[in-house]
C-alpha cells in the first residue's frame, strides 16, 4: 500500500505536507512528491481539502 496524488486535482496547498508524520511529502512548487518513508497512515488523505490523495493497493 502507498498513497498517490492526483496532480490534476491537487491545488498545491501544502496541507498534506504539514501533517505527514514521516516527512514523506514535499510540495515542489505546483506538485507533491512522495518518498518511501510513507507508512500508509492515511493522515494526508483525510486532510486534503479537495480529495486529491488516494491510498492505493500495490
Amino acid at each position: 500500500m502507498t498513497v498517490t496524488v492526483n496532480r490534476y486535482k491537487c491545488g498545491y496547498c501544502g496541507a498534506c505536507v504539514s501533517v505527514c508524520p514521516m516527512a514523506a511529502l514535499e510540495l515542489v512548487e505546483t506538485w507533491i512528491e512522495i518518498n518511501d518513508a510513507c507508512n500508509d497512515c492515511n493522515t494526508c488523505v483525510n486532510i486534503c481539502p479537495i480529495g486529491a490523495i488516494e491510498s492505493v493497493k500495490e
Binding site: G11, Y12, C13, G14, A15, V17, S18, V19, C20, P21, A23, E26, L27, V28, E29, T43, V45, N46, I47, C48, P49, I50, G51, A52, I53
Partner: protein, 392 residues
C-alpha cells in the same frame, strides 16, 4: 547570488520578508529565497487583516487593499446574528488585502532595505558544522547549490520542511490544523462587513467566512478542523455553502490551504537557526489569522539576528531572546485563543444557538472576541467555567 551571507531567510511570505527587511535595515547582508517563481501566488489566504497592525509594517497602498471593512458579524447555526465593531473585533478585519500584490510589496520593501531576493529557489537541506547550522542546500532553478550563513531563518509557511531539517518537530496533528477551501465569488451582494458562520453542518470544528473584496465580489471560504475532516470535505462543504447563500454567484477563483491551529510549539530555535510565522505555528488557533503574527515575529527575529551577529554569538542560547520575545507577546495571545478554540469545537449547534441568544443584542458594535467570551461567561457561568482564566 553569493555563496555566503549573514542571514538566509527561507520563504518570501509575510514572515520571511519581515525578517529580511528588519535584518537588512540593521545592516546585515541578507538573502531571501522563495521556492515559487512568483512571490505571493497562488494565494492561500482569506486576506483579512487588522488595519492598525498592518500600518506598523508597511505604508497602506491602494494597490494591495481590495476593500476596507467596518466590522464583522457572526451567525449562529440558526441564523442569530452578533455584530462586532472593527476596532474591537480582533486581528481579522480592517482591510481585505490583495495578497498577490501585498506579498510582493513586502518583498520589494526587503529589497529596498538592501536584501537580495531569489525566486524559484528551494531549501532542500541544512549545512551543519558540528551541531551548528551554517547554511542551506538549495535547488535554484533546477541546479543544486550550497549557500552559507551565520543564521538561517525558516519562514517556509504551513508546509515547512526547514524546521524539521533543524530537528524541530513541526508536524501538525489533524486536531491542530484547519483545512480550508475558498472561492472568489463574483456577482453577489456583500457589504462592508466580514461575516462568519458557525455550525457543525456548515464547517465542523471551524467556520465559513465571507470577506468582501469590493463591489459585488467576496472571498467565500470554509475551514474544517483536520480531525473532523475527511477526503475533500472542505471543497464539498464550500460548494454547498455557496449554492445556498449565493445561488447566483459566479466562482472566478479557487484557493486551497491550511492554517496551523496548534498554539505555541515547544521550540523555534536551534544553534544558528530560527523559525518564524506559520512554520513556527504562530497563527491564531481560533481565527486562523496569521499575517500580523508573522510580520511581528519577523521583526523580532530580524532584530535578534542583528544583535546576535554583532556579538558574534548565534548559539541557541543567544537566540533564546527571540523565543522569549515572541512567547511573551504572540505566544500569550495564541495560548488564550487556543483555550477558546478547544472549547468551541466541543459545542453542539444547539449550544451555539443558546449562547448566541444569551448575548444577542448585548454586543452591538462594541465587542471584541474576548468581550464576547466575557459576555458569554456572564450569561452562562457554569458551562463556560473553562474560560475563567481568560477573562480576569
Amino acid at each position: 547570488m553569493k555563496d555566503k551571507y549573514d542571514v538566509i531567510v527561507v520563504g518570501a511570505g509575510p514572515a520571511g520578508s519581515s525578517v529580511a527587511t528588519t535584518a537588512s535595515k540593521a545592516g546585515l547582508d541578507v538573502l531571501l529565497i522563495e521556492k515559487r517563481q512568483e512571490i505571493g501566488d497562488p494565494v492561500r489566504c482569506a486576506e483579512g487583516v487588522d488595519k492598525e497592525g498592518i500600518k506598523r509594517h508597511i505604508k497602506p497602498d491602494p494597490r494591495w487593499i481590495a476593500a476596507e471593512v467596518k466590522g464583522s458579524r457572526i451567525f449562529a447555526p440558526d441564523g442569530t446574528k452578533l455584530q462586532i465593531s472593527e476596532k474591537m473585533s480582533g486581528a481579522e478585519v480592517g482591510y481585505v488585502l490583495e495578497r498577490k500584490i501585498f506579498d510582493r510589496a513586502l518583498a520589494e520593501q526587503a529589497v529596498s532595505s538592501g536584501a537580495e531576493v531569489i525566486v524559484k529557489t528551494s531549501a532542500t537541506g541544512l549545512i551543519r558544522k558540528n551541531k551548528q547550522i551554517t547554511g542551506i542546500h538549495a535547488r535554484s532553478i533546477g541546479e543544486s547549490v550550497d549557500i552559507k550563513a551565520k543564521i538561517v531563518v525558516g519562514a517556509d509557511g504551513v508546509e515547512s520542511k526547514v524546521g524539521r531539517f533543524a530537528g524541530i518537530n513541526t508536524t501538525l496533528a489533524p486536531k491542530d490544523i484547519e483545512t480550508c477551501a475558498q472561492f472568489l465569488v463574483s456577482g453577489i451582494e456583500a457589504d462592508e462587513y466580514c461575516q462568519f458562520y458557525l455550525g457543525n453542518n456548515i464547517a465542523p470544528g471551524g467556520y465559513a467566512w465571507v470577506f468582501p473584496k469590493g463591489k459585488g465580489i467576496a472571498n467565500v471560504g470554509i475551514g474544517v478542523l483536520g480531525s473532523l475532516s475527511n477526503n475533500g470535505m472542505p471543497v464539498k462543504l464550500l460548494s454547498n455553502f455557496v449554492k445556498h447563500h449565493f445561488p447566483t454567484g459566479k466562482i472566478i477563483e479557487m484557493v486551497l490551504g491550511a492554517v496551523p491551529a496548534s498554539g505555541p510549539i515547544e521550540k523555534t530555535i536551534a544553534d544558528g537557526f530560527m523559525l518564524v510565522g506559520d512554520s513556527a505555528r504562530q497563527s491564531d488557533p481560533l481565527t486562523g489569522g496569521g499575517i500580523l503574527n508573522a510580520l511581528d515575529a519577523g521583526v523580532m527575529a530580524g532584530t535578534v539576528a542583528a544583535s546576535c551577529i554583532e556579538k558574534d554569538d548565534v548559539s541557541e542560547k543567544a537566540l533564546m531572546e527571540y523565543e522569549r520575545q515572541w512567547r511573551e507577546t504572540i505566544g500569550k495571545k495564541i495560548s488564550k485563543t487556543l483555550v477558546v478554540k478547544e472549547k468551541l469545537i466541543t459545542f453542539t449547534d444547539k449550544q451555539f444557538n443558546i449562547f448566541a441568544h444569551s448575548i444577542e443584542g448585548k454586543c452591538d458594535n462594541t465587542m471584541g472576541v474576548f468581550d464576547i467570551v466575557r459576555a458569554l461567561f456572564r450569561a452562562n457561568p457554569k458551562l463556560l467555567w473553562e474560560f475563567r482564566n481568560l477573562i480576569k
